[in-house]
Each structure stands twice: as structure tokens, then as C-alpha cells.
């Protein structure tokens, strides 16, 4: 059985950043990454972007590492392999294909999977989703010949895919359970801005609606909606969200909640086991409560922080998570914790002239999160105010004006 000083489960940005950081700190220890995909590290956030998903640029442009990088850094990439069990007492991970591995220190960086769509007919040819590179290849192939798409879900990936579909002149009907776009991540006003954007570009939106059956004899020819309407289509793009792959860890005794529970050092409840990336439910030192956030930048920060802790350098994870999404020339930005919970004040900063909007969430006089449309220039300032826990109580009355300069709230400015 192979034994590694550092074993990393997951070859995405969290796991690979961890391996890279470990190697920088430790030139001699053995490091291995187990990945269930057959690829070296690639940019997941690019998979839904115009330029890539419409087939304009070569597929190779999504790769961030090649095999030579793993070889040069003496990082063993065990690809196409799934971890199926963990025995922390024996310091052993069971792998698919009988290639079990022992470790001194283990990092769980599995990321998330696309949620399985369980509606009748979901197995038919022409029902597609997007999580990994191979999913993207299937989409690009479908986009070459298909003309009528049903797009399901009102997340950011849908928003980006809608632009790709329209740029390829594919008829697009968006079916969403929500009453407005991205409810409740965005406010209703913001969701309506995105909807107008989509509709202006020819996307038909079915709100508060669900597909109850995918029609067709083995191959998709249409969908049936909850209200009995039948829509013709030749592909269905199911972008209904994510699930956390933690089932394989149930028998290990590791503390699980929605994800893998860790402290601010990304240590799990088991000795010598850390967690990083989208499936980590870490103690957020900024919010002072357990938090999960699936974003590229956060996953990379977690990979780095976990690796430092694995080498014995105690390092707190302290990040304000942000992400942006672009579609049809509009940008959505999110930073911090955007849950509208009891006790939180909401301030809307709206400027209809330039079609921009910003919603601030405030708790105990401190900004904890924000959603932003077409005002991303405010993203960094807001993130800093969140991180530094600047008390903005004195300015609450003025902040509702879109003209109020948030930078004046930063103490050092």
C-alpha cells in the first residue's frame, strides 16, 4: 500500500493550491493528490464563460497545470480515482480500484457535485448539466447542432450560460422555481434587473414554475411544466445547484453538518485531518459563526491556509468571500454573508440612471455582506469594511444614497 506524508483528496483549486503551498514549505515530504477527474487542474470558473463555452477558444486554454508541473514538483497525481472511505485511526483512505493509501496528514478538498435532477425523464439523451470539464465538452458538442434549449435554475451559472446560448442564436426558455431571479440570494429589485437583462436578449422566463417531466423517446423532444404546458426543445440544461459529497465520510466518525465541520484553522474533528474548499463548513472569524462559501477565491485561500496548518504553522482562515458573474454586459457581485436574517438591517443603494444597485446587510452597526449589480467598483471597499468590522452606525442615514461614497467609511482614507 502506498504511503504519503501528505495525502490530498480532491484535485481542484483548493487541493492543488494546498499541494503547491506544501511543496514550497517542504521540499522533501511525499505529496499525493487523489482526483476523481482524469484531468490536471483546470479553471472551473471558466467553464460557463462566453469565449470558452461557445467553443471560440481551444479547450486547452482552461488548464492551469500540466503533467510536467506535477512531475517537477514531485506531486503524485492519482487521477480518475475516488475516495470511498476513511479510517483515521489507521490513517488510511480507501480508494476506488483497490489503490488504498496511507497518510501522515490528510486534506479533504473534494469540492461539490452537481445536484442530481430526479424528475421523470431526466436520464434522456439531451439532458445536460455543468460541473466539470467533461460536462462542458458535452455542452459545446450539443450547442453545435441544437436550436431550442430549456435552461433550468436561476443561479449565476444559468445567467452566464444564457448569454452563451443567445450568442449562438439558440432559442432559450428559462424555467425557475423562484418568483424572481436568484431568490433569495439577490433582492427582488436586483433579480428583476437581471430578468429584464435576460428578456431584452430574447430569453423567455417562466417564473415560479417547474419541469415535471422530460418528454421524448430516449432523446429529449420537449418538457412538461407543472401547469400542464408542453414546450418543445432539443436540449435541457439542468443547473439546479450543488450537493455536498460527504456520504463517504459518514462511517469515519468525522464531525459533519451540511459540510465537513472545521475550526478557524481548518482542522476537522479527527486528528491529522484537515478540510479545504467548497465542502468545508469552517468557523468564520469575521462572522463569528460556522460558514460555507463556494467560490474560487475562497477555495484557493482555504487550500493555502490548510497547507500552512498542516506544516505546523498555525494560521487562521480570515477571508471575506466574494464572487462576480457576468452576463450580457452586466455584472453581479456578492461579498460576505448576504443572508437576510432577523436583526439585520438592509440598505439599498439604487441608481436607475446607470442601472446599478447595491444592497448592504448590516448587523450590530457593521456591514456583514452585500449584493451588487453594475457597481462592482464598490466591492473591494465593502469587503474591507466587512473584514475590518468598521462600525458605520453614524452614517446609516446617508448610506442609502447611491451618491454616498462608501470609501469615506474606511478609517485610513
Amino acid at each position: 500500500m502506498a504511503k504519503y506524508n501528505y495525502l490530498i483528496i480532491g484535485g481542484g483549486i483548493a487541493g492543488t493550491t494546498a499541494a503547491e503551498t506544501l511543496r514550497k514549505k517542504d521540499a522533501v515530504s511525499s505529496i499525493a493528490i487523489v482526483s476523481d477527474e482524469p484531468h490536471p487542474l483546470y479553471s472551473r470558473v471558466l467553464l460557463s464563460k462566453v469565449g470558452i463555452l461557445n467553443g471560440e477558444k481551444p479547450l486547452d486554454s482552461v488548464f492551469l497545470k500540466n503533467q510536467a508541473w506535477y512531475d517537477t514538483n514531485k506531486i503524485t497525481l492519482i487521477s480518475g480515482t475516488t475516495a470511498t472511505g476513511l479510517n483515521a485511526a489507521a490513517k488510511k483512505v480507501t480508494l476506488s480500484g483497490g489503490k488504498d493509501a496511507e497518510y501522515d496528514k490528510l486534506l479533504l478538498a473534494t469540492g461539490v457535485h452537481a445536484k442530481k435532477w430526479t424528475v421523470t425523464g431526466a436520464e434522456k439523451k439531451g439532458v445536460l448539466h455543468l460541473r466539470g470539464l467533461d460536462d462542458m465538452k458535452a455542452l459545446i458538442e450539443a450547442f453545435r447542432t441544437k436550436k431550442h434549449a430549456i435552461l433550468i435554475g436561476s443561479g449565476f451559472v444559468s445567467f452566464e450560460i444564457a448569454e452563451v446560448l443567445r450568442s449562438l442564436n439558440i432559442n432559450t426558455t428559462l424555467v425557475m422555481r423562484e418568483k424572481y431571479y436568484s431568490e433569495p440570494v439577490l433582492s427582488e429589485a436586483e433579480g428583476k434587473m437581471i430578468e429584464k437583462n435576460l428578456e431584452d436578449h430574447g430569453v423567455v422566463i417562466k417564473r415560479d414554475m417547474e419541469v415535471t417531466e422530460v418528454l421524448g423517446d430516449g432523446v429529449v423532444t420537449g418538457v412538461l411544466l407543472r401547469d400542464g404546458t408542453k414546450l418543445d426543445c432539443d436540449m435541457v440544461l439542468s443547473m439546479i445547484g450543488i450537493m455536498y459529497p460527504i456520504q463517504w465520510l459518514r462511517s469515519s466518525g468525522i464531525k459533519l453538518n451540511t459540510g465537513i465541520v472545521t475550526n478557524e484553522f481548518l482542522e476537522t474533528s479527527l486528528p491529522n485531518v484537515w478540510s479545504a474548499g467548497d465542502t468545508t463548513e469552517y468557523f468564520d472569524k469575521v462572522l463569528k459563526e460556522p460558514f460555507m462559501y463556494g467560490s474560487w477565491m475562497n477555495a484557493r485561500a482555504q487550500g493555502e491556509t490548510a497547507a500552512l496548518n498542516m506544516t505546523g504553522k498555525k494560521t487562521e482562515l480570515r477571508v471575506v468571500s466574494f464572487q462576480t458573474s457576468n452576463g450580457f454586459g452586466n455584472t453581479i457581485g456578492i461579498t460576505g454573508d448576504i443572508r437576510v436574517l432577523p436583526g439585520r438591517t438592509v440598505i439599498n443603494r439604487s441608481s436607475p440612471i446607470d442601472n446599478s444597485h447595491c444592497r448592504l446587510l448590516i448587523k450590530d452597526g457593521v456591514i456583514v455582506g452585500a449584493t451588487i449589480i453594475n457597481r462592482v467598483q464598490e466591492l473591494a471597499t465593502i469587503s474591507r469594511l466587512i473584514k475590518e468590522e468598521v462600525n458605520i452606525s453614524a452614517k446609516l442615514g446617508e448610506m442609502g444614497s447611491a451618491k454616498f461614497d462608501l470609501k469615506t467609511l474606511v478609517p485610513t482614507f
Binding site: 470558452i52 477565491m297 466591492l379 473591494a380 471597499t381 469587503s383
Partner: protein, 86 residues
């Protein structure tokens, strides 16, 4: 050989003295432009260029390069030490 393009930054009070774009790594994801449209734009080859290295504050600049999915933009401090990626 990396295809690097350097942009000096002379903004007063800034800790960042130079922005460097690796044109081979840039794939026009435009994440940096989404956050700092006053600073970055795409040129005719769909590569990011810096149109104004001094216009934005350090926080926004750091955030815009952190957002890059390919880590194509590097920041250096006034002493020439690389500050991102670390």
C-alpha cells in the same frame, strides 16, 4: 519564455509599484475587468492590458487580481518584491 507585460504604478500612498500581466496565461475571463474596469481592458487579441495603473486603490487592485482564475496578473511592491500571488 513567458510573455510578460509590465505596467509601473506611481499612485501616491500605494504599496504597489508594478502590475505585470502574463499574456500567455490570460484567457479573457474578464474577472479583473468586472472588479476594476477603470484599470483593465481587453486588447484586440483578447488579452488583458492595463489602461490606467494608478486610478484605483490598493484594495480594489488586489481584489481584481485575486479574482483571476488563471493567476495571470502579478503585483509587486515598491521594492520589487512580488506581493501577489504570494
Amino acid at each position: 519564455m513567458a510573455n510578460l507585460k509590465e505596467y509601473p504604478r506611481t499612485k501616491e500612498g500605494s504599496n504597489i509599484g508594478k502590475i505585470v500581466v502574463d499574456r500567455d496565461l490570460c484567457i479573457a475571463a474578464s474577472s479583473c475587468i468586472a472588479i476594476a474596469s477603470e484599470t483593465f481592458e481587453l486588447d484586440g487579441e483578447s488579452k488583458v492590458i492595463v489602461k490606467d495603473a494608478n486610478i484605483i486603490d490598493d484594495d480594489t487592485l488586489m481584489m481584481s487580481v485575486e479574482a483571476c482564475p488563471t493567476k495571470a496578473i502579478f503585483l509587486f511592491d515598491k521594492n520589487g518584491t512580488q506581493v501577489f500571488p504570494k
